[in-house]
């Protein structure tokens, strides 16, 4: 068997395995089963790492990036289709995707460029509120998603001066303060619904109402969340491509240089301000677009969704996945969004368990689940 054929088989097998895992994980409700599944998965991964399988697999994957991307998309589609009539799993899948987009934004900011942002939820929230405010106007709703991003980027520019001037912990405080300020402002000020929040009209594309179920035939009626899942998937793919292309370009290199050594970067002509602004704005834009679609899907938003703790959830996704690692972010988003949900049956104990699980992961995998590798400008190319 040739190497490439072998690779292809491996990838297909992995995709099938992954799909099966996702379907089971989402479908089962019994706590013991969930724990058993997670344990089995963890054991498999540890064993694979022990025997060098992981390394072989990752090499195989990096050789066949296109195929892998395709396989992942196909796997997601299979999972989505599997749950075509179940509203809740689809809602969760769509939620994961929107978190992924927002966290891509954060990755651009501190994974790539080192601009810390602890107000991710605020920028996500700006997108949500844009959708709420513009949803009833005649602005086309697809445009509203973009406008949500733009609003986040513009409001974020208030912070540009302090963000540019500060580093590290100092920058963290700027964004923490902004996040708190944003939420308090929404709560106190009644023009945007105050603490009671606002209704948000659903997505409607050229007369296609996203909020009604899709009737295929008499007996087959797909959940209306399918609409959102598909749109979110498209957005995730677009965001992924954008992130990848930026990373694998001179811009990504500039970002890294700014993050790692500002002085040296400046001595080689890299405009620190320009790239920090670019990353900060683009990151906020991504968070804003994700927020806008999220608000449309959820139909209702209130200030308490955009608290400091929500920003921290976004940050923890990025760290857990591995700073700057796109696949890591996707995995971590799935874990962080789904795990507390899957732990519902332990009710009031689930935050405790969740926090303990997070601590354990971080202790044993300090670089994140899937640390970012070296930049490969052109996949498979080694000069």
């Amino acid at each position: 068997m040739t190497q490439s054929l072998k690779d292809k088989l491996v990838i297909l097998l992995l995709a099938a395995l992954g799909t099966a895992f996702m379907v089971t994980f989402i479908a089962i409700e019994e706590q013991t089963e969930i724990f058993a599944l997670l344990l089995v998965a963890a054991a498999l991964i540890v064993a694979a790492a022990k025997f060098g399988v992981i390394k072989a697999i990752s090499q195989c994957l990096s050789r066949n990036e296109k195929l892998m991307n395709g396989a992942v998309i196909a796997a997601v589609l299979v999972v989505v289709f599997w749950f075509r009539e179940d509203h809740f799993p689809l809602l969760m899948i769509a939620t994961v995707m929107m978190y992924v987009i927002a966290c891509f934004g954060l990755n651009m900011q501190f994974g790539y460029t080192g601009v810390v942002n602890f107000a991710g939820a605020a920028f996500f929230g700006i997108g949500c509120y844009t959708a709420a405010v513009l949803g009833d106007t005649s602005v086309p709703l697809l445009m509203v998603i973009a406008l949500g991003g733009i609003a986040a980027a513009i409001i974020g520019s208030i912070l540009i001066i302090p963000v540019l001037r500060t580093r590290g912990h100092y920058a963290a405080v700027v964004t923490i303060a902004f996040g708190l300020l944003f939420r308090t402002f929404l709560e106190v000020n009644d023009t945007l619904g105050g603490p009671q929040g606002l209704r948000v009209p659903g997505m409607n594309l050229f007369g296609w109402d996203f909020n009604s179920n899709i009737e295929i035939s008499e007996n087959i009626e797909l959940s209306f969340y399918m609409n959102y899942v598909i749109l979110a998937l498209i957005m995730v793919i677009l965001a992924f491509v954008l992130m990848r292309r930026i990373e694998r370009s001179w811009i990504g290199l500039n970002f890294d240089a700014v993050r790692l050594d500002e002085t040296a970067a400046a001595c080689f002509g890299i405009d620190i301000k320009r790239w920090k602004i670019t990353a900060f704005t683009l990151g906020n834009f991504l968070a804003g677009t994700a927020g806008a679609l999220y608000a449309m899907m959820l139909g209702f938003i209130a200030p308490s969704n955009f608290a400091f703790s929500d920003s921290l959830i976004l940050v923890s996704i990025v760290l857990l996945g591995g700073m700057g690692s796109l696949w890591g972010t996707i995995l971590a988003a799935g874990l962080v969004v789904l795990l507390p949900e899957k732990l519902q049956a332990i009710q009031e104990y689930r935050f405790l368990i969740y926090a303990i699980v997070m601590i354990l992961i971080l202790l044993f995998r300090p670089q994140g689940i899937l640390p970012r590798g070296l930049r490969a400008y052109i996949p498979g190319w080694r000069g």
């Binding site: 501190f110 810390v116 912070l159 001066i161 302090p162 001037r165 500060t166 580093r167 590290g168 912990h169 100092y170 963290a172 405080v173 700027v174 923490i176 303060a177 902004f178 708190l180 300020l181 308090t184 402002f185 106190v188 002085t263 400091f308 921290l312 940050v315 923890s316 760290l319 857990l320 700073m323 009031e348 104990y349 935050f351 405790l352 969740y354 926090a355 303990i356 997070m358 601590i359 971080l362 202790l363 300090p366 670089q367």
Partner: protein
């Protein structure tokens, strides 16, 4: 506004500022020794307060009801147990992560904060409800017109001040302080100087956490109410205060703490439109201040060379 009222605001603001400053000092210490932000600090404070509270209940239960003895017992148990907790945190959560990206420590300690908070909420008897913390200090009060000065406030202020001065002397004037600062800058070289690295880190975390416990008990004595969520906001504000003041020196933490308290008081008192905006106001000023002095009001001395 009459003078008495002004005085009242000043004293209130000072109490609040002292509390913030004590928390901020803790952040400065941890940052000083390992360049890490320990975000569970506020929650350690909260646990310390609950430890003190339990001690009070225990002492009352065995029939000791002399307020002074109780106060000493509360302080000793609370500070000692939190010092131990701080050392444990350092040993098992912070040290293992010292070579990982700094944000990881932040995240781990944040999660630890959740664990502490949830543990109190779930496992402390009736932990999700606020508790009545006893007044163990003399409650004499002197009124001057609209100005009421209470003995307990004065004692707490002085106590807080003494603790801060003590920490400052410890850091800047003692051998231990020298070691703490050295460890902060370069672990390996500090070891080569004969410093017991682990011990210093554990001691620093114990110290910082002990200070937090003190602040927690002080909080309880002053407000007579404690609850499992009290540490969260105090932690965030203490952190902000430490940063605005300028990390790496204790004066910055004190300045930041009092500044923040001043802003909040000012916001509540003087904002003509609505006092509900006082936090918006305080945080906006914080952002502006950081934009103006990007390394804190008392700037860290730069030492980076090219």
């Amino acid at each position: 506004m009459d003078v008495g009222l002004l005085g009242q605001f000043v004293v209130n603001g000072m109490m609040l500022g002292m509390m913030y400053a004590l928390v901020a000092v803790g952040f400065t210490l941890f940052f000083g020794v390992l360049d890490v932000i320990k975000f569970s600090h506020g929650d350690v404070l909260m646990v310390g307060t609950f430890a003190g509270f339990s001690t009070y209940l225990g002492l009352t239960a065995i029939g000791i009801d002399n307020a002074f003895v109780q106060l000493v017992g509360v302080l000793v148990v609370s500070i000692a147990s939190m010092a131990l907790l701080g050392a444990i945190i350092a040993r098992y959560l912070v040290l293992p992560l010292k070579s990982a990206p700094p944000l990881n420590t932040l995240l781990v300690t944040l999660m630890l904060g959740t664990v502490l908070r949830e543990s109190i909420r779930l496992f402390y008897p009736d932990g999700s409800n606020p508790k009545h913390f006893p007044s163990l200090l003399p409650t004499d009060a002197w009124s001057f017109g609209s100005f009421t000065l209470r003995a307990d406030s004065v004692i707490l202020l002085i106590g807080g001040l003494l603790v801060i001065i003590g920490v400052n002397v410890l850091i800047n004037r003692t051998r231990l302080g020298l070691a703490i600062r050295a460890v902060a800058q370069d672990e390996e070289t500090a070891k080569c100087m004969g410093i017991n690295f682990k011990m210093i880190v554990l001691l620093t975390f114990a110290l910082g956490s002990g200070v937090a416990a003190f602040a927690g008990v002080m909080n309880g004595l002053y407000y007579n109410e404690i609850n499992f969520g009290m540490g969260l906001l105090l932690g965030v504000i203490g952190f902000s205060a430490a940063i605005v003041g300028g990390l790496g020196n204790i004066y910055g933490a004190i300045l930041g703490g009092f500044l923040f308290a001043g802003l909040q008081t000012l916001g509540a008192v003087a904002l003509p439109f609505a006092s509900a905006y006082k936090d918006v106001f305080a945080f906006a000023v914080i952002i502006a201040l950081i934009a103006w002095r990007p390394t804190g009001l008392i700037a860290e001395k730069t030492s980076e060379r090219v």
